[in-house]
């Protein structure tokens, strides 16, 4: 409902507001769409870049681990290459430690053997060289024991007989070379640090190629972390190395050591494609996967979406603020112009209303020359022309008529006229010509009524003038005609136009009366029908020829000009002009019988003279 009322108030008949609204909507939608697309594109490329960086880091990790594996392989190779060492290792693997020491001592004395052939020493050197090594182990398949060297250079030889240990089974399994340290081995050596990974290389008899045992190295996962040092500043998210079973071999953020990595189903991963572009989004994380299939570990990089979002947060804010500024511009600037235009248009409308209500002096004040300005100027010019026309044509004409009237009146000096008439009248009476006196009296009064301007000219006044006129003629024609006037006193005060009945009477006296007869009659009857006061003037005079009657009726309709029938046409047109087209005079006539003229006035208060 609120929307409907807002619509009705502001938009319904307002073209400008509609225009503005449509334009604003289009601009806003366009700008928003564009900025969103730009934002998506930018964020997309940012994400890709970050993931590429991470991928590079992951590759680095992978290479590093591979390197470690190769180094272990090298260690084994070295061991084989050095015959003395190799022999010693074999001896150590197949005999107890005590026996080995004896063997070594014998060797020194007997063969002046190289000190460097000491297995322990060799291993110690290896450990010194590679600080990442946590544990070195030799497993003898024959003896089923495990020789371990830890960081603190402690050496132990542990029994790993199949009867009470699972280690032989472990060693016999075809596990990947790189994996998490086996639980049983850990148990045996009591090494529970979770941040370790193990690399295993089988030791085979070089000649028989029979498997003698396994060479295991436990590395600190920290080492992998160090490899990432270069990337530290740029890296987002974390990199995790998982074993084939899903154990965490390395975690760059140290979260998941010892726990199951939640984000990836490792079983799937191993069989996944190893392409570079495997970017998946799961559980609000971007997951980058790099599988090293043959070695049995998976390098996984993840970036939380929020963390990624931070990278392009800056760009996003910039885009948003620019869009807002653009929208503001796109809406406000046209709004300003349109509102300005609307104001001017409304001003023009107001002025036309003013003129509509009669104020012809209104002018629009608009100085500019655009379309609205042109309309305003034309409007003003039009009004000027109109006023000029009114002044010149109408007012001048009216003035002309007024002047003529005044001149006419001035020519007849009333004082002179009446005095003279009065004198003549008195003289006539003195001479005994009473009828002359009466005629002159009638004429005098008639003239008076014609010239005098009465404010409220009533039907009674007009009737009186008619009566005087008829009286004059009755005497003139020496009683060959009689007249009757029938008017209800109620109509006495009815306002009428001056000289609306007299011309009709005149007409009869001039045209209608039959002087050869002595029974001429004229009757004037006033009656009312509906809202019309009707004065019927009926005579038994000559009547009007039908053709002539049609002519007369036609001429009545034509606008008033000087010419024949000035009186009748004047009455008709004046009545219609003042009261409306349904009033005026009607003429009926029969040749040889008489004429009947009806004059219609409105009954309600007329507009006055």
């Amino acid at each position: 409902m609120k929307i409907v009322s807002v619509y009705n108030n502001f938009f319904k008949n307002n073209m400008f507001m509609k225009m503005l609204l449509i334009f604003s909507m289009i601009s806003i939608v366009t700008i928003i769409t564009l900025s969103y697309i730009i934002f998506l594109s930018v964020s997309d490329s940012t994400i890709r870049r970050e993931l590429a960086i991470q991928k590079a880091a992951m590759e680095h990790v992978d290479r590093y681990i591979h390197q470690q594996y190769e180094s272990v392989q090298n260690m084994v190779r070295d061991m084989h290459q050095n015959e003395a060492l190799s022999a010693n290792i074999t001896y150590l693997m197949n005999h107890s430690y005590a026996e080995y020491v004896q063997h070594m001592t014998n060797g020194y004395y007997a063969n002046q053997d190289d000190y460097s052939a000491d297995v322990l020493k060799h291993f110690q050197n290896i450990m010194d060289r590679n600080s990442q090594i946590n544990q070195l182990m030799l497993y003898s398949a024959e003896q089923q024991d495990l020789s371990t060297f830890n960081q603190h250079k402690q050496f132990r030889k542990l029994d790993a007989n199949v009867a009470h240990s699972y280690i032989p089974d472990v060693m016999a399994m075809e596990t990947p070379n790189i994996s998490a340290p086996n639980y049983w081995i850990r148990k045996e050596i009591n090494q529970w640090d979770p941040a370790l990974y193990s690399i295993r290389v089988p030791i085979n008899n070089t000649q028989t190629l029979r498997n003698l045992g396994q060479f295991l190295v436990f590395f600190d996962s920290e080492g992998i972390g160090n490899a990432l040092d270069n990337y530290e500043s740029n890296l987002k998210g974390e990199i995790v190395v998982l074993s084939a079973k899903g154990t965490v071999l390395f975690d760059s953020n140290n979260h998941y050591y010892g726990k199951k990595y939640p984000y990836v189903n490792v079983a799937d991963s191993l069989f996944d494609q190893t392409d570079m572009d495997s970017m998946k989004k799961e559980q609000n994380m971007y997951v980058n996967k790099f599988v090293s299939a043959d070695q049995g570990y998976v390098v996984i990089g993840t970036v939380p979406v929020e963390e990624m979002a931070e990278t392009y947060a800056g760009i996003r804010n910039t885009i948003i603020s620019i869009s807002i500024v653009c929208i503001l511009f796109a809406v406000l600037v046209p709004a300003f112009f349109i509102i300005n235009f609307a104001k001017r248009t409304r001003r023009i409308i107001r002025f036309t209303q003013k003129v509509k209500y009669g104020n012809l002096t209104a002018r629009i004040d608009d100085a500019r020359d655009d379309e609205l300005g042109q309309i305003s100027h034309s409007f003003n010019d039009m009004l000027d022309e109109l006023n000029l026309y009114i002044e010149r044509v109408y007012k001048a004409e009216i003035k002309q008529k007024e002047t003529e009237l005044v001149a006419l009146q001035a020519r007849i000096n009333p004082h002179f006229l009446y005095n003279t008439l009065e004198v003549i009248r008195m003289r006539a009476i003195s001479q005994g010509a009473r009828d002359v006196g009466e005629m002159i009296y009638s004429l005098s009064v008639l003239f008076k009524s014609l010239v005098q301007q009465k404010k409220n000219y009533t039907l009674k006044d007009e009737m009186e003038a008619c009566r005087l006129y008829l009286e004059l003629f009755r005497i003139r024609y020496k009683d060959i005609f009689i007249y009757t006037i029938q008017i209800d006193a109620a109509y006495y005060q009815h306002p009428v136009v001056k000289l609306s009945l007299q011309p009709i009477i005149e007409n009869y006296v001039v045209h209608g009366i039959q002087t050869e007869r002595s029974d001429n009659r004229l009757s004037i009857v006033v009656e009312e029908t509906d809202d019309v006061v009707q004065v019927e003037v009926r005579d038994n005079g000559k009547g009007i020829d039908p053709a002539r009657l049609t002519e007369i009726l036609e001429e009545l309709e034509r606008p008033e000009e000087s010419g024949q029938m000035f009186g009748l046409r004047s009455v008709h047109s004046r009545l219609r002009f003042l009261y409306g087209p349904e009033f005026g005079i009607t003429i009926e006539s029969t040749l040889g019988e008489g004429t009947r003229i009806r004059v219609r006035y409105p009954h309600t208060e007329g507009t006055g003279v």
Partner: protein, 189 residues
């Protein structure tokens, strides 16, 4: 017989006045006439009359001045004014002086006769000079209304005079009160 004096600058009008009315039937007779105010005044001073009928616009003292001067000689002089066309200002002044009636030219005979009749009856009934006519205009008013109530004035004439004197008679009802003197009561003034 009441004495009547006629003043008008048109001799034929004077002559006509002699003829259009049967003066004796009203108990009046025209004793003299004059052509201008000055001559009239002289005549009136030497020989006072009861009724003065005078025109307004005349040379050598117009009708109004004549009335004023004549009233000095005889305050209770009855005056009837004859007036030409459009002399309303003068008429108003004349009314203030106290006139029986004014007659516009052309002179309506009935109106004249009716006025004379009214004046005669007033003269008949006046025993003492009317010294206490405070307002001159009241005289005309009284006359007109009296004649109207007794049906002695034509409608047109009445209407014209009523309008002139600003008597508004538009209301639908009129009340008439008759006060009759019940004769002298001892002790009352």
């Amino acid at each position: 017989m009441y004495k009547v004096f006629i003043v008008d600058d048109e001799p034929f009008i004077i002559e006509g006045l002699y003829d259009i009315v049967d003066w004796s039937s009203f108990g009046m007779e025209i004793v003299s006439h004059a052509g201008n105010g000055q001559a009239a005044l002289q005549a009136l001073t030497s020989q006072p009359v009861d009724i003065l009928i005078t025109d307004i616009s005349m040379p050598l003292m117009n009708g109004l001045d004549l009335i004023r001067e004549a009233r000095r000689v005889k305050p209770e002089l009855k005056v009837i004014i004859l007036s030409g066309f459009n002399e309303f200002e003068y008429l108003k002044e004349g009314m203030q002086l106290g006139i029986e009636n004014y007659l516009l030219k052309p002179i309506n005979v009935e109106e004249l006769e009716s006025t004379l009749s009214n004046t005669a009856s007033k003269l008949d009934h006046t025993l003492s000079p009317q010294a206490d006519d405070a307002y001159g205009i009241q005289i005309l008013k009284d006359n007109i209304l009296h004649r109207w109530l007794t049906g002695q004035i034509a409608a047109t004439e009445f209407e014209e005079r009523a309008q002139f004197m600003n008597l508004s008679l538009d209301a639908p009802d009129v009340a008439v009160a008759i006060l009759r003197d019940k004769g002298q009561v001892p002790g009352m003034v």
